[in-house]
């Protein structure tokens, strides 16, 4: 095996641009925390959530970030577990991004609780039959395993063991996303959720969302610090993102086809796919069109797929489409009423039989953005104080024996 000559170095981070970025992220984070305080002190009555739509925009952001977190670890996994050495220089950043995204997502989830002050109870009192309780272990385990993995990659004496840590981290992240998907997959009463495909669908989503965020982070960091970023590694990630988008589309098609095939779910499917208003729009236009087909076209069209801007735009679209997808799953799945008496027309003072309306409020959105800011802030601070980023990702450094890629 060739000797690894990659030089990792902290970013300079002393200029006005860096501090202005940190300040902006800080402002968004503090605004999110203030929004959470406002929600907690007034009660959830100041949100758009209600007794029918019990999980709303904060959960969309939280689940998106948690899913993306395990996906962001992929670059590290691919290099350690699957031996793709050209990704190795980015493995350190990949692990830090994964931890940061998970922290941001969990921050939102915890601050949205009715009683966030009782978080200690969630750590001390467990109902082992609850998938939520399993997730508490999966999430805390993820932090520990991924940070140990990072340490092994950074500590010279430990480098030989990093591959094993990477394998454990890879298996753990699959379990984690399975757990997140199963939060929905295990809900037997709701027609939009009760399906085993939720777990693999969430895994495919994590691959795409996590990589899209990672590509944007790498491109932005390298452009703004003036470090060389060659086309080779960028195009490799582009190809991978294209495959992951296709995987998400595939599982989405299977998810809806399976559901359509069962006559009992026809009404729910008609709601999402045809007459669900905002949910139908978000599904077809934002999730499938803007967040799936269009970015694939951008990535694989030579005119756009060979430019950094084209790849960045495609990645941004995947993120927007991803948020729409999670919104359709979480909110759309609740907006459609559960059937108390299948085949009967049902009505009541508690929204039975009716599509449940949901209008998110500003506070919910700000809390969600606060979580994203927290994640980005962690990455921004980490790259300044830790030697995470290679000084160069030029083609010659990443893959010396490789000629410029043709496609």
């Amino acid at each position: 095996m060739a000797v690894d000559t990659t030089v990792y170095k902290e970013i300079n981070g002393t200029g006005g641009d860096y501090y202005s970025l940190i300040s902006w992220l800080g402002v968004v984070l503090v605004t999110g925390l203030a929004a959470a305080y406002y929600m907690e002190s007034n009660g959830h009555v100041v949100t758009g959530m209600n007794n029918a739509i019990v999980w709303g925009v904060p959960h969309v952001f939280a689940v998106f970030l948690i899913v993306a977190a395990s996906g962001a670890l992929n670059i590290a996994s691919i290099s350690s577990v699957f031996g793709r050495t050209h990704y190795k220089p980015l493995a350190r950043l990949s692990t830090v991004t994964a931890v940061a995204l998970l922290a941001g997502g969990l921050m939102i989830l915890v601050l949205d609780l009715g009683r966030p002050d009782r978080l200690i109870l969630a750590m001390t009192k467990y109902n082992f039959k609850s998938i939520f309780a399993w997730n508490i272990y999966l999430y805390s385990g993820f932090f520990v395993i991924v940070l140990v993995y990072l340490w092994m990659m950074m500590e010279r004496r430990m480098v030989p063991h990093a591959k094993k840590a990477g394998l454990i981290a890879f298996i753990w992240r699959l379990a984690l996303t399975t757990g997140t998907g199963s939060i929905f997959g295990f809900l037997a009463a709701r027609p939009g959720y009760d399906a085993a495909i939720m777990a693999p669908l969430f895994i495919a989503m994590s691959f795409a969302f996590g990589l899209a965020i990672f590509i944007m982070l790498v491109s932005f960091t390298y452009k703004s610090t003036g470090r060389p970023l060659g086309d080779f590694i960028l195009f490799k990630m582009r190809n991978l993102l294209g495959v992951f988008i296709a995987a998400v589309l595939y599982f989405t098609v299977v998810q809806h086809l399976t559901s359509l095939y069962s006559a009992g779910n026809a009404d729910y499917e008609a709601f999402i796919l045809m007459n669900g208003g905002i949910y139908t729009f978000l599904f077809w236009v934002v999730q499938i069109g803007l967040g799936g087909l269009f970015p694939m076209a951008l990535l694989f069209n030579p005119a756009t797929g060979r430019t950094c801007q084209g790849i960045m735009i495609a990645s941004a679209l995947v993120i927007i489409g991803g948020l729409a997808q999670v919104y359709v799953i979480i909110v759309g799945g609740q907006a459609f009423p559960m059937s108390l008496f299948p085949g009967m027309e049902v009505s009541s003072s508690f929204f039975d039989g009716a599509i449940h309306p949901y209008t998110p409020t500003l506070a919910e959105g700000l809390l969600g953005l606060g979580g994203i800011a927290a994640a980005l802030l962690i990455v921004a601070v980490a790259v300044k104080f830790l030697a995470l980023l290679p000084t160069s990702l030029s083609d010659a450094k990443v893959d010396p024996g490789h000629l410029k890629e043709g496609a």
Partner: protein, 254 residues
């Protein structure tokens, strides 16, 4: 006098014994007291809570629609969850029990019936609750421990009956036997505070006072109880029994 070399020095043993005795004397009253307290907590006037009982209801969906309002009002008064009309916020106000109207679109047949926590034998809310705040007593009553609930609302996602409410704002007029709090989840308790003292739930009592037997309450495990005899005599239906959750509430006439 010198001891034989093989004799055992019992001084240390006696000290240990003495210490143990002192410890028992010191700790035992505390344990006894705690045990007595614990017994008092689970043992109401009608005896300890065991799975020998299975509390349940039989609701007659053919009863005149007006009686359900009596039941709902009685529940609000008993448990303190009603909101005055002027402050009402229908999408977020709690509803422990609600009136549901159903209509068969093919035949036009209609019925109105109350729906509340169905006190399932296999409650999905209890399965999903991360902290164990959602719990099922041995006698089948499903409750939320408001002191452990962290307000994640996963139970509300899991409940097939939309039987649970999240407390969206500060509450007032709480009853001493029914703690409630902003940020926690709540639902019908089968009036556990009354049942443990041998009384019927407030809704049932209110209907009985008005001369209606539209909601029957009792022990489904006791073959001699009115409810057990009634469910043995008539075909009854439980809502979404296809989900296998084994609700404790039976309906007639749907």
């Amino acid at each position: 006098m010198t001891k034989p070399s093989n004799s055992i020095d019992t001084t240390r043993r006696n000290v240990v014994k003495g210490g143990a005795a002192v410890a028992v004397i010191a700790v035992a009253p505390g344990i006894t007291l705690r045990t007595l307290e614990a017994n008092a907590a689970v043992k109401g006037p009608i005896g300890p809570v065991t799975n020998a009982k299975r509390w349940g209801m039989l609701i007659d969906a053919n009863a005149p629609e007006g009686v359900w309002d009596l039941a709902i009002d009685a529940c609000k008064t008993e448990q303190g969850w009603g909101v005055p009309a002027k402050d009402a916020n229908p999408s977020t106000d709690p509803q422990w029990i609600r009136k549901v109207s159903i209509k068969d679109p093919k035949t036009g047949a209609k019925a109105t019936l109350p729906v509340m926590c169905q006190h399932c034998a296999n409650p999905p809310c209890v399965d999903v609750c991360p902290t164990g705040a959602s719990m099922k007593r041995a006698d089948g009553i499903v409750l939320v421990d408001k002191h452990i609930c962290i307000g994640c609302r996963y139970c509300m996602m899991a409940c097939p009956y939309s039987a649970r409410s999240f407390v969206h704002e500060d509450v007032s007029g709480q009853k001493p036997y029914m703690p409630r709090g902003k940020g926690t989840v709540e639902s019908c308790t089968f009036c556990v505070h009354r049942v443990d003292r041998g009384r019927k739930p407030a809704c049932v009592e209110a209907l009985n006072k008005a001369g209606s037997n539209a909601i029957m309450f009792g022990d489904l495990n006791d073959p001699k109880s009115d409810i057990a005899r009634a469910v043995a005599k008539f075909i009854t239906r439980r809502i979404r029994s296809d989900l296998g959750v084994e609700p404790g509430i039976h309906y007639r006439g749907i």
